[in-house]
Point group: D2
Chain length 314, copies 4
């Protein structure tokens, strides 16, 4: 197969690009997401594909979307940020563009992208964990994407880390992404500003004195400028990330783990605590092989590139 189009549907933007067999984006484009209108959203994807195919011949379309995608890679069962419910996305877009269309969970698509062309290009299995506002993941095992029985595997951000812990948007308590993510950085920073802790002064200043105005990038920025509290907060989040990876290693036994996502990208201060907590918390760590931790290499393009490549697989 020759060129394919990868589409990455986010809550605010839809990115699409023509991708070649080596994972290179030949040409690309971006539109706003009509998040509350599934028909308009499908039409926007159709327009993007039509525009791109005027520039290059393409053979198929791969779409990555945040949400639960069914095992047939056609329907989005549920999405946190878009008004989809059992949305027949592949069929809708296929009707518009007349090409084969496959839909994949966005983290799965990104994991596939990293596995084929990025941090995992030299290995046979890969666990990609993205640390952004929340925590997502995709699992590649024995050269294949592990999709799960219903198609909704690798929702690792909802591994429970703390019994009866912090309430998560998923309705449960103590989920991993409440502790080792950008959301955790923001909450912990805000709590310290509210408590009036002296060390929180630099963060409070960045946030204009408003504990609710702190953002993840503020914390990483302050940490890179040397703010001790921000460095500590990132180390704490990194420690939680590493602890969760140790649990995942017991279950999934990857040889290689790539860490991606906004928090990892923004700060070289995250990986050291991740690495140390991971090794420290490995079950039977002295008797088993250790997975290698790496930074992901494709950045934001991983999902688009991965989706395009998945469209090549029958």
């Amino acid at each position: 197969m020759g060129l394919t189009v990868g589409v990455d549907i986010g809550g605010t933007k839809i990115a699409a690009g023509v991708v070649d067999e080596d994972g290179r984006i030949v040409v690309d484009d971006v539109r706003d997401t009509p998040a509350t209108d599934p028909a308009a959203l499908a039409a926007t994807v159709g327009d993007l594909v039509d525009d791109l195919r005027r520039k290059r011949d393409i053979d198929a379309v791969g779409i990555g979307a945040a949400g639960f995608v069914d095992a047939s890679r056609s329907t989005v069962l549920f999405a946190p940020n878009i008004d989809w419910a059992d949305e027949p996305l592949a069929a809708r877009v296929h009707e518009l563009v007349g090409l084969r269309v496959v839909v994949e969970n966005d983290a799965n698509a990104a994991a596939w992208g990293e596995f084929r062309f990025g941090a995992g290009a030299d290995v046979d299995d890969l666990l990609l964990v993205t640390v952004g506002t929340g925590i997502g993941a995709g699992i590649i095992h024995a050269g294949q994407l592990y999709r799960g029985g219903f198609g909704v595997a690798a929702e690792v951000g909802h591994l429970r880390m703390v019994p009866a812990g912090i309430l998560c948007g998923c309705g449960q308590y103590g989920c991993w992404e409440q502790y080792g993510s950008g959301r955790a950085l923001v909450r912990e920073a805000g709590d310290r500003i509210r408590a009036g802790i002296t060390a929180a002064k630099p963060l409070a200043d960045l946030a204009g004195g408003d504990p609710d105005a702190v953002t993840g990038p503020m914390v990483t920025e302050a940490a890179q400028a040397g703010d001790p509290l921000s460095i500590d907060l990132i180390a704490d989040a990194g420690s939680w990330v590493g602890q969760g990876l140790a649990s995942l290693a017991a279950v999934l036994d990857p040889t290689t783990i790539a860490i991606g996502g906004g928090v990892a990208a923004a700060s070289d201060l995250l990986m050291q605590p991740v690495q140390e907590a991971f090794v420290r918390h490995l079950s039977a760590g002295s008797s088993r092989p250790h997975a290698e931790l790496r930074l992901a290499t494709l950045g934001n393009e991983a999902g688009l590139v991965g989706a395009a490549d998945l469209a090549r697989i029958p």
Copy 2:
């Protein structure tokens, strides 16, 4: 391929049997395990196989063993109850019997047995979780055994449930099998007897007044006789099992989960609390398909039958 031999190496006994293509044990035998002498152990396996092949023609040997087995299904990297270290078990036995020999982790073998001939015979994926003294598991995904990158996947008993929790034999703290297993039943019962709680009188009597003499079977026996504390302890363990399964479902997304092992077998009182805690703790439970929970059906034979069948796979 016709008949194969399955071998199940436990800490005290080695069971072996000739198994047909439908998973039926045609003839079998058992010996004591020479746990401290790897050469003698391999010789015992060789003897068992030689005795069995005098009765039937066999094509290959599959061995299930508790421990970390490498990805080539030949070497036991580490075992908790047998003095193996990087033990070339497949080669040793092959040298003795001249047949193809594959080695597999015992929980993986049991999962494969249940998948092919037991609780999972009608489905395409299966998570088998065994609740005995500890907690073990095997993962079948898309019709294939998920072995992990190094071959040591599915050590789910070491999923961390409680940060800085109870010390586990694996060197870590708060592992699942410290809370939802026979070991937990024994510890919690003993603690209550030591505390002199009135409700612990029936268990104390069963244990001859010695809190250290309580066993898992005592607790299940007392529970089945209606002892309220024992029923509660099994319900607590079951709740922990269900909570862990909910975390596993987020990561692995099985459609079917079979529960095996001694605690599950001994008591019909375990499954109800498991089921309720599982549903109660599922992330985004109202937006995702739910796995079906079942009892495993092959009992102790699952490992032997599964190992025999895995020997058919090249």
Copy 3:
């Protein structure tokens, strides 16, 4: 001193009564609480006192109020349900009625009432713990009320039970009253109804199918009617209560602990799990004397009676 008036200021009602030296309420009255208008609230208290003193001669006024009361027993620093901020309540009421007025935290007043005339009338020290929507307490040590250095001791509902646990209204995470209180019953019941657990059907029916409509009394009612899930939920809450009491015993070493509040009053199902968890979790339990657990005996009147009696103490 002869008769005094006790006043109990709640978020919706103000109760007042003339109390004799034996803790008997001679005559009493009740008004609505003008919770958003401190001046009107003081005026209402003044009116109540004036009405009562027309019926009997009184010597002083004791007021119990939910909130932080300063060490001089005059000013309410902060109250969760009434718009008070550094409210000079004693001075305001004194100005209106011309009698000596003392203000006390409502749980402290209730503990004093139980100590003098109720569950603790026969002992020299008492820890009263009230299990209602939240958890409150008052400490009597060596015959005296333990008020703390700032006057705000015994906020035991905010003992942290779970690190990084459930968010509490106090701004912290994992507070005791999130686990062992009426609030916990309501949350846990609602979560189970939302999860669609079969056993939650009776509670769902009581709540008209709406998980947000469950109340604590519904759960206790269902439990008393034999609903297994409700019995379990109360046992869970009771276990948390007992676990917290064990921590308090390590710190405070009471000889007698009285349990009061709406949840304890409503259900005889709470005390057994409280008792067992308390004994089970006592540090060095076999080497130290155990506090005796009792039900409080004065019910809602404890605060009013205790406040009246505290007004006798210079």
Copy 4:
């Protein structure tokens, strides 16, 4: 009353000294502790007192001892490091020396010493928390020692911090002193050396490569020399200390908290994390007065001086 003798009975040494009314040690002496022979131990105390009274006239003897002391300040109910069981220590020593003898828990004695002559000399209430191998405390409220109903209050090291957490020597799980003490430093350091974490190399070198040979002083020494991991470990322990203090503040409401003990003494790196975690975890922290945290000032002499002074109180 004029001079009194204070005696501090530790597991290996007994220190005794003549103390004046200003808390000054006039003359002192020390002997080995015959820990397994209660009669010999009492005789040793008697000898020490006899030697000291030859040098000065004394009026009474105060003894501080690690263990549960009964409410009459005479009998040691239980001691972790000395073979005492319901030991009538005051009577035994009185028989030998003919003076009034009072016995007090050693942490209570130290708190009284700090309250009268040290960190709390200027305040009316004091919570002394000692962070050594474990965590101990003494409570002074309204100018008086808070002894508890049975005489065994302030065992704050056994406040539970983590449900189902690390096993403590007291038979319970998750006690504070498993997380915020010298014992925690040693365990965490050892775990990291065992895990082979790069950052643990300096500590491993100090311990001669043996994870079981790490001591608390090694960690504080390495931290003061700038070792990043040791600084982190002390910060983690300090954070746990601060979190526990926040729970204690909710219950006890001290205006002043003094931190003593070996870990606090050895490292100025502990107090900053203690302070920040304390403020960060205070319930309703923005609505209530905050206790002031201070370092204790009397060091090892606090217990001896406090015991001597308590002997003055009838």
